[in-house]
């Protein structure tokens, strides 16, 4: 399989998963706001039925996990479809993304504790990971391009 075909297969799976992640987070935020806004639809139908509201919240928490599972599977398949050198580049970028996420989580955690800043919602770690991955992948690929190619 060529890299182009692998990228096409990756986007076919990863883009809907990313979309599901964003939508699920947006719905979760809307549902949370519904707890405090009296005119919200969510507040209206869940009023007096906290058991149902809790069940909906659990369901809303599971949807982004499914989306992340989809993204992880798409990426795993993509990496296995690449040749060994391109796979190494992807793994390097994934490791840097992971390090960015860990550094951000630790750094923000310390700031939160010492300076009493507002808590960073933990679901932001996923976009931070993907941002770290994308930026590092861009750098690595730009560096590789710098070496040029000979015919």
């Amino acid at each position: 399989m060529t890299e182009k075909q692998a990228i096409h297969r990756y986007y076919k799976m990863a883009l809907p998963a990313m979309g599901l992640y964003i939508i699920s987070i947006a719905i979760a935020v809307w549902a949370r706001d519904g707890m405090t806004t009296s005119e919200s639809i969510f507040n209206f139908w869940s009023q007096g039925n906290t058991g149902l509201a809790k069940a909906v919240y659990y369901a809303l928490a599971v949807i982004p996990i499914i989306a992340i599972g989809g993204m992880a599977w798409a990426h795993w398949r993509f990496i296995t479809e690449l040749d060994e050198y391109m796979r190494m580049i992807q793994i390097k970028a994934l490791l840097i993304g992971l390090l960015c996420m860990l550094a951000m989580a630790t750094g923000w955690g310390m700031i939160e504790m010492l300076l009493r800043l507002p808590a960073l919602p933990i679901f932001w770690l996923v976009p931070i990971f993907w941002l770290g991955f994308s930026v590092s992948l861009g750098f690595i690929k730009a560096k590789e391009k710098g070496f040029g190619h000979e015919e």
Partner: protein
């Protein structure tokens, strides 16, 4: 690790893309191997050796 992949390829008049196709790897991989930035795995080294009908140690030279 040094190698004479570039010389062998040039002798046959193949581009990096053509060699990549023959070995089922990307052009970038060929470029990285030729410039010594990446050492291929043993299975890929065997594949290269078979393609050029040479022994692995005749294509790849250990620096040590």
């Amino acid at each position: 690790m040094k190698n004479k992949l570039k010389v062998l390829r040039a002798e046959r008049g193949w581009s990096q893309a053509v060699l990549g196709e023959k070995l089922d790897v990307s052009r970038q991989s060929i470029n990285a191997i030729e410039s010594g930035r990446y050492d291929p795995s043993l299975p890929l080294a065997f594949k290269i050796a078979r393609l050029f009908e040479q022994a692995i140690e005749d294509i790849f030279k250990d620096k040590g």
